[in-house]
Amino acid sequence: MKIDMKKLAAWFDDRLALTPIFKYMTKKEVPQHEHSFWYYTGSSILLFLFIQIVTGIMLALYYQPTLEGATDSIGRIMTELPLGWLIRSVHSWSSTFMIAFVMIHLLAIWFTKSYRKPREATWMTGMMLLVVSMVFGFTGYLLPWDDLSLSATKVGTNIPMAIPVVGKWVTQFLRGGGDVTGDTLTRFYLFHVCILPLVIFAILAVHILLVQKEGMSVPLKDEIAKKKVPALPFWPNFILREVVIWLVLLGVLLTISLAFAPSLELTADLMAPAPEGVKPEWYFLFLFQTLKIFPANMGPVTGEFVAVVLILIAVVAIFFLPFIDNKPEGKKGKLIQYLGVAGLIYAIVFSIWSLL
């Protein structure tokens, strides 16, 4: 039997409304200017997210989220399964790249002020994606269940306790009880492979729909001057350029993953003293160091409480940044730009400090 491909295509087109979508993609235009380069950061995150999903599913085929099985099952993946160590390495490195690109994406948008009206909601869903990405990292860090990850998780899940009343609830929710135990591991695994993926897809769908709805932003000064910015069609001109970037990133990722595969420490022992050198993943280091510089007690409250409250205020302020920066071309707009630079320097300096 000969299948009439044209008819088949028309059938799908009819049912799924493909023509309008393709037509939209060819009509969609991406402005070309001196800051266009940052338009590629969003799709780079998507590449790493895709790699996380594929390698994550592969690892989940053999990983066992139990006290007895967790470390050994990863040991088995690394030593017995064909190229298992490489799959683990790619998953671990791709998570680092993904978070790094989320941060670059955020900073690029901060500095170009693309969050300004009408893209406030895009920015706010973006902040949610940042938090979800970091929670992905936090929950994933415990899964090998080795010395370091256990202690880092104890510290991390204890931090909410600094806040009276609600903090205790949060900690008990995260741990599945008062202490970090096997229940915590089960819970973190569930978050990591089920709940967070659902959440990230839901938010991402809104984020990307909003980007399509508003189109790509043009530089602020061109918008004020009402200058027409030259543009390229998204399809195929822009997407082809994205493919070039994806290829390079894929090459870098594979090169690093092959050269620096992560090792596996000894199985965590709930009764053993904490090992030296407990530290979280690199993207939490500056927060970790911030907590460290506060003294134990500050008057009536603990130093930790003050630190946690300050961090929360900063996060909320960044979440509402488009509303705070309501006159981007004015003096306040400039100041907020400098604050972004200051924040970046702060994060870098504190991260390095925490390693000394």
């Binding site: 609830w169 009880g177 202490d179 407990v278 460290k292």
Partner: protein, 152 residues
């Protein structure tokens, strides 16, 4: 429709009953979910150890025991009695280690130190280690939460 001198219309009245009822039903569904997700906090009231395992300890010596899912630390006092602590740092919950040469408890997470009486002496810990009570009863060495009397 509003009856004379009534505060509400009939629709408002009925809607609020419906809404309130729905809210109550929702709450009755949600509360067991919340209870399930937040498990009861279980720390033992007391643990029973075999006295023979600890009777040979020298004064000043410190040994570990299991306090539920956490480590406990027990020290022999010069008069032969025992002093027990929960072996968990009061800063951010890392397990502490006893360093016999320094005669101090040490937390590696953020460099916290406690002296041999469990008092926080340097680093971020805000409070002394949590004390537990201990008593020898026949063959057994009991460690209890303060205030939990001997169960008979």
């Amino acid at each position: 429709m509003r009856i004379d001198n009534a505060y509400f219309t009939r629709r408002k009245f009925l809607n609020s009953i419906l809404g309130g009822w729905l809210g109550a039903v929702a709450a009755s569904f949600i509360s067991p979910i919340v209870k399930f997700v937040w498990p009861p906090y279980k720390e033992p009231d007391e643990v029973k150890l075999v006295f023979a395992d600890y009777s040979g300890m020298q004064p000043g010596e410190v040994k570990n025991f299991a306090w539920g899912s956490k480590p406990g630390l027990i020290k022999r006092a010069p008069d032969g009695s025992f002093i027990a602590w929960v072996g968990v740092c009061t800063h951010l919950d890392c397990n502490v280690a006893w360093l016999p040469d320094k005669k101090q408890f040490f937390c590696a997470c953020h460099d916290g130190w406690y002296d041999e009486n469990g008092t926080n002496v340097s680093g971020p810990p805000p409070k002394p280690l949590r004390r537990l009570e201990s008593s020898v009863e026949g063959e057994d060495l009991f460690v209890r939460k303060p205030g939990v009397g001997a169960k008979t």
